[in-house]
Structure formats: C-alpha cells, structure tokens
C-alpha cells in the first residue's frame, strides 16, 4: 500500500499507509492527523482539510479542479501547491507522497 507522510506545522511527521481508492483526507483521519478537520466529511464544501503538497510531488498529484479551487478560496495561507486532501485519491503513483498540513483550518 502507498505510504503517505503528513508533516504538521510544528514539524511532527506521520508516515502511514494509505488504502488504494480512499482519499488523503480519509487516510489522515484514520491515522489521527489532528490538523485535518474535514468538517464536511469529504463533500468538497468546507475547505478544512487543506494540505500543501510537497513541491516535488505536485506534478504527480496535479492541480485542483475548478470546484475544488473555489472551495480553496475559503481556506487560509493558501500556496500554489495547496489542495483539499479529500479530493486527492490514493493511488500507487502516490507511494511516498509528502504533504504539509497548515496550523489552522478555520476553526
């Protein structure tokens, strides 16, 4: 199973196994990555599961859809590689993925 590393704003790193077909958000919640809130449960409507994708990985992960980009407007400290983790599906190609989680998701 693909390994995903979440690095929280204080430097705490969690390297966990992601289930194929689930999302980077779901994988975070299953593994108690506290800085992912996911208030809407993955409906792409709340922008509280923001991650900054590691720059080396951004081309693999790809840019957000128009719908997701609109939601990111309601997030804070957005960077060019920011994505909503509920919209990133775990695939074999993401084995080794590194994402950074922000200090604040709006609540």
């Amino acid at each position: 199973m693909p390994k995903i590393t979440y690095i929280e704003h204080d430097g705490t790193a969690h390297t966990v196994e992601g289930e194929l077909g689930s999302t980077v958000m779901e994988t975070a919640l299953r593994n108690d990555v506290a800085s992912i809130v996911a208030e809407c449960g993955g409906s792409c409507t709340c922008a509280t599961c923001l991650v900054h994708v590691d720059e080396k990985w951004f081309t693999v992960v790809g840019p957000p859809s128009a719908e997701e980009e609109e939601q990111i407007d309601a997030a804070f400290e957005v960077k060019p590689t920011s994505r909503l983790s509920c919209q990133i599906k775990v695939t074999e190609a993401l084995d080794g993925l590194v994402v950074y989680t922000p200090a604040y998701q709006g609540r």
């Binding site: 809407c40 449960g41 604040y104 709006g106």
Partner: protein
C-alpha cells in the same frame, strides 16, 4: 423589551433531526418552535452538502441533503412549526420545573416547557482569518457580517474573499464607502457572473480597487483599524489605510453558547441518557450529532430515533395529567387527523 414567545418546546437547530422532532412532538399534540443560526432550514444538509447524495436514510436508497430537507419540511407541514432563522440562542435559564427562558442574539425571548438541543456540530459561524491580533478589532472594525450598511458610510473599507458574500457586499457598500478595496487570493471569483462583471466594471472605471493576495497584518489600536498589509502572490507587500475590514471566508461549526448553560459536557458533546435523550437538566434534551452516549453513531437515522423517544418524555412534562397511549400512524384515526389525512 419584546414580548416573550411562549411555546411547549423550543428546538435549537433546524437540521434534519430538529425538523423531524417537530413531527414526533406534533403527533403528541406538542407545539414546537425552532431557532437556527443559518438563514435557511436543513442544517448541515443545506449548508455543507445540499447536492451530495445520502445513501443511509431507511427506506430511501438515495436522496440529496436538499431533497431530505424538502421532504422533512413537507412531512412536518401539518404541525405548522414557527421558525426563527438567522438567530442564535445565546442564553438559557431554568425558571420552573421544568420551564426555561431563552434569549436570542436578535433580542427575542422564549419561554418553553422543554428545550431540545439539536444543534449538530454546533452553530455555523464565520471563519476567522488567522491574522495575528485580529480579536481586539472584531465587532469594532473587523466585521464578519453587515448589520447596518450606514455604519460603513464614508469609511475606507477592505473586503476580503472571492464568493458571493464578498462580491455582494463589495457592490452594496462601494457607493457609500469613501474607498473600497477588494482582496482575493486569485484573479478569479466564484461568485455570480453578473456580480463579478459589475465588480470588474467598477475597478476599470476607477470606482474601487482590486488586490490579488492575502491580508497578513493589521495596524491600529483600541479596536480601531488604521491599515492592513497585503502580501501579493508575487511576494510583494503593500499597505492600505482602512477604517474597517470585512472578511468573508465562509462558515465553520463552533459549539457556541451551549457550553455556558450548565450542561455537563464531554469533548464538546452533551451526554444524554438513552431512554429519552435527556441531559443532566430535566426537561432539557439533546438529540442528533450534538449528544453522546455509549454506542452513539452520528447518523441522521440515529437522530430520528432519538427524536421519537425524546417526544414521549417531553409529553410527560407538557401534559403531566394526560396518559400517553402509544399509537401507529398507519392505524390511528386520531394521529391521521393530526396529519390531515383522515
């Protein structure tokens, strides 16, 4: 002081569980009124996933949040509930056995024999931008909502955001403001195309400013804002003198005033017993996502069950002298009369 509104039961939260509580109470001749901080009914179903599918409502293989809300509104229509939308219950005090007095932030006062907290994940409140030192300015020169437009007349305003709220208030306040600047993180707006066009025309005509970037710092003192720093997407910093800032980043769920009502709380949830979902305060019930008990599942269907049991107990408080006879809607003429189908 406005007149006190008297009702059998006041339901806090007009999400699916609060709405269904009206039905269960109504079958037992208990009148209910509802208060919700959103300006619409449906709670999370309306705010977070109106168009998303729900697959686990018993007997309904597929329905959207919006569809479920509409269906519940139709189901409770015979009971004529009164809604108080766009209001938050701020205080609750027990004044009888049981009798409660509640006040809202819109200045209304209620007296209810029972109170049902069906507030889900809490109240939807505006997201606060993570700008250091923003708190002292809030409600003084940083506003998350516009109550009186006139308060912004001849002021230098900074509106932040890219959705309909940001655009609508930009267009509404621009004519009366001394100068208005809109700040958004990208040069694309998700608001209604017509509003975007009007805003762009104002910028082109020099009637307002548009800056692409993020607000990083505030200047001022004693709650009075004097300037904001904006970091452009190219990293360049700029400074704008302003009298007020209006950030619009959508809503997030916060527990809100519930924590101050003398209820026992566990991890921001209200413990309830499972025979009637009553809290540690008799006559005060907690149903739906906001309660907790051994085995609790945050499912709409669990909230519906909790509403049904709550209503049985509420009947004892509202009609202490009446014996409650359990009946089915399928076969009871009296229940069918209440539903307007007999």
């Amino acid at each position: 002081m406005s007149e006190t509104i008297k009702t059998d039961v006041l339901i806090i939260g007009a999400g699916p569980v609060g709405l269904f509580a009206v039905f269960e109470l109504g079958l037992l001749d208990i009148k209910a009124q509802l208060v919700d901080i959103l300006d619409k009914v449906g709670g999370q179903c309306a705010e977070l996933y109106p168009e998303k599918p729900i697959y686990d409502i018993p007997g309904i293989p597929f329905i959207t949040g919006h569809g479920l809300t509409d269906a519940l509104m139709q189901q409770i229509k015979p009971f004529h509930p009164t809604f108080h939308l766009g209001e938050m219950v701020t205080t609750l005090e027990k004044i009888g056995e049981p009798l409660f007095r509640l006040r809202t932030d819109a200045g209304k006062t209620f007296e209810a024999k029972c109170v049902v907290i069906a507030a889900g994940g809490g109240s939807f409140q505006p997201k606060r931008p993570p700008i250091q030192g923003i708190e002292p300015y809030e409600e003084k020169s940083v506003f998350y909502a516009v109550r009186k437009m006139d308060a912004f007349r001849d002021k230098r305003l900074l509106v932040v955001g890219g959705g309909d709220s940001a655009l609508d208030w930009t267009l509404n306040l621009q004519p009366i403001a001394k100068r208005l600047t809109l700040v958004h993180r990208r040069d694309e707006f998700r608001g209604a195309p017509d509003s975007v066009n009007k805003m762009r025309a104002l910028v082109a005509a020099g009637g307002m400013d548009l800056k692409i970037g993020q607000v990083t710092a505030l200047e001022g003192g004693d709650g009075k804002l004097t300037a904001c720093s904006i970091k452009g997407n190219d990293g360049a910093l700029s400074r704008i003198e302003v009298d007020a800032m209006l950030p619009f980043f959508g809503l997030t769920m916060k527990l809100g005033p519930v924590a101050d009502w003398g209820l026992r709380m566990e991890d921001e949830l209200i413990p309830a017993e499972t025979a009637a979902f009553e809290t540690n305060i008799p006559g005060l019930f907690a149903i739906g996502d906001i309660n907790t008990y051994p085995g609790k599942l945050k499912l709409i269907l669990s909230g519906f069950h909790e509403a049904a049991l709550m209503a049985q107990k509420a009947h004892r408080y509202v009609y202490p002298e009446k014996k409650l006879v359990f009946q089915y809607t399928t076969s009871s003429t009296s229940l069918q009369k209440k539903l307007g189908v007999a």
